[in-house]
């Protein structure tokens, strides 16, 4: 294998192109800062992107890695648009390894176009505080992400493969941050009248028309953030997730969020998860093992020794 950059054809797969382009890109030169006017031009999006790729393809060098470097190319399978699989009783199977399905940077990105979060002033104030304290995000310190936040790591639904929709439990196993699970009771029980607050709450689930898994959850603690931005919630949080699988390769989570402490009314956001490559499996992810977050940036752990 050679370390010398070599000319290659950019892939037809956009997600492969991303890695090829990034891997070959230059370390930014301060003299090449993009002026604001230029940034506006960037809004033209697709045309500029295509132009940039074309230009970059003409450039045969790079300083942050070479084309073909191990780990450089994102290998993602093509979209699977065939119908979703079904269990013997006709219920849609949610089996598969998925990534996505919840907010990461900003939960408002899942709102219908033109809508805004119905934030109460208390929420606005807390968001402003968290914007100045972004390293307080519990997620950064290996705490669970709660609901409905997602991570860049896969998760898997574990359904009853006998096909009984009345099976007592359904689990969602999460690989990443942190290696965790959600337990959803499918036997028709109700939420207990009083609950001790937890990161993932108390979840009860049911199927609608064998197509939609509805998960109703209460009993949350108020510690996790909905997103990196710090969109808050309280222990009054109530989430209703509606999971569907419109195609083999796509899972959609449409989640309604109620929390009278921070929102003037319930709101609904929608997020898509993508099926991972065949053969991929959940891997171990013990976040607390060697978390050195904070050191490089000079940040103290807000959850330790205070």
């Amino acid at each position: 294998m050679t370390a010398v950059p070599r000319a290659v054809s950019l892939s037809d797969n956009p997600e492969v192109i991303v890695r090829q382009l990034f891997g070959k890109s230059q370390i930014p030169n301060p003299k090449l800062q993009i002026p604001i006017a230029t940034v506006c031009v960037l809004g033209l999006g697709v045309w500029i992107l295509g132009f940039g790729i074309f230009l970059h393809a003409q450039e045969g060098r790079g300083s942050l890695g070479t084309i073909g470097a191990l780990g450089q190319e994102v290998k993602r399978p093509p979209a699977r648009n065939e119908p979703a699989p079904r269990l013997p009783d006709g219920t849609v199977s949610l089996d598969g390894l998925w990534v996505g399905g919840g907010p990461v940077g900003d939960i408002a990105q899942g709102l219908p176009k033109g809508e805004k979060l119905p934030l109460k002033p208390e929420a606005v104030k807390l968001l402003e505080y968290r914007a100045q304290h972004e390293t307080d995000d519990p997620h950064l310190w290996c705490m669970p992400m709660g609901v409905p936040r997602s991570t860049p790591y896969p998760f898997r639904f574990v359904q009853d493969i006998t096909g009984s929709a009345a099976s007592p439990h359904l689990f969602i196993i999460h690989e990443g941050n942190i290696h965790s699970y959600r337990q959803i009771f499918m036997d028709g029980r109700k939420h207990p009248a009083e609950l001790d607050p937890t990161w993932f709450g108390h979840s009860i689930g049911r199927w609608e028309n064998k197509d939609t898994l509805v998960i109703d959850t209460v009993g949350f603690n108020d510690k996790f953030w909905f997103d990196r931005k710090g969109t808050p919630h309280s222990e009054q949080l109530h989430t209703i997730e509606r999971w569907t699988r419109p195609t083999m390769g796509t899972l959609v989570n449409t989640v309604t969020i109620e929390d009278p402490m921070y929102f003037t009314k319930p709101f609904t956001a929608s997020f898509t998860a993508r099926l991972q490559a065949p053969g991929d499996e959940i891997m171990e992810y013990i976040c607390q093992e060697n978390n050195q977050y904070g050191t490089a940036g000079g940040h103290d752990n807000p959850f330790f020794g205070k």
Partner: protein, 138 residues
């Protein structure tokens, strides 16, 4: 220059258009996207650990003093999905590492490109959104 602008346009468009890719940690709170490094040295330790794999490189600083750099990579699972194993980098490997330096702590880096003396080229894919060229392996 025009070509470089084209590249930057494309990168910006990809980052915005893709909704950003992500990992466990925020690049911008830890590393300085304008502070790059390029060092040569010897791998003295490899940590195949979460949330991020790391390797340590013994090298000499400008004054000739031996120093050890702590290099951050992506998570083991993200690296494994892209072809790495815990044996990809070994203690004793001679490497050239390019990446972004820590904002505060000395001799810490977000490793992007690792070239070994035997000619292997490795992409570290460390940290996550906000890094100048974006993108996180999964």
């Amino acid at each position: 220059m025009r070509t470089k602008h084209g590249v930057l346009f494309a990168i910006f468009g990809l980052v915005v258009g893709s909704g950003a890719a992500f990992a466990h940690h925020s690049f911008s709170t830890e590393y300085d996207g304008s502070k790059t490094f390029n060092i040569k040295g010897t791998v003295s330790k490899v940590e195949w650990t979460n949330p991020h794999a790391r390797f340590y490189v013994d090298t000499t600083d400008e004054s000739g003093k031996t120093v050890t750099w702590n290099m951050e990579l992506a998570s083991p699972s993200a690296l494994a999905r892209n072809g790495w194993t815990s044996r990809t980098l070994k203690v004793g490997d001679q490497v050239t590492v390019t990446g972004y330096a820590a904002k505060v702590a000395p001799y810490r880096g977000d490793a992007r490109s690792v070239i070994t003396a035997d000619g292997r080229s490795l992409f570290g894919g460390a940290s996550d959104d906000g890094r100048p060229e974006g993108g996180q392996p999964q």
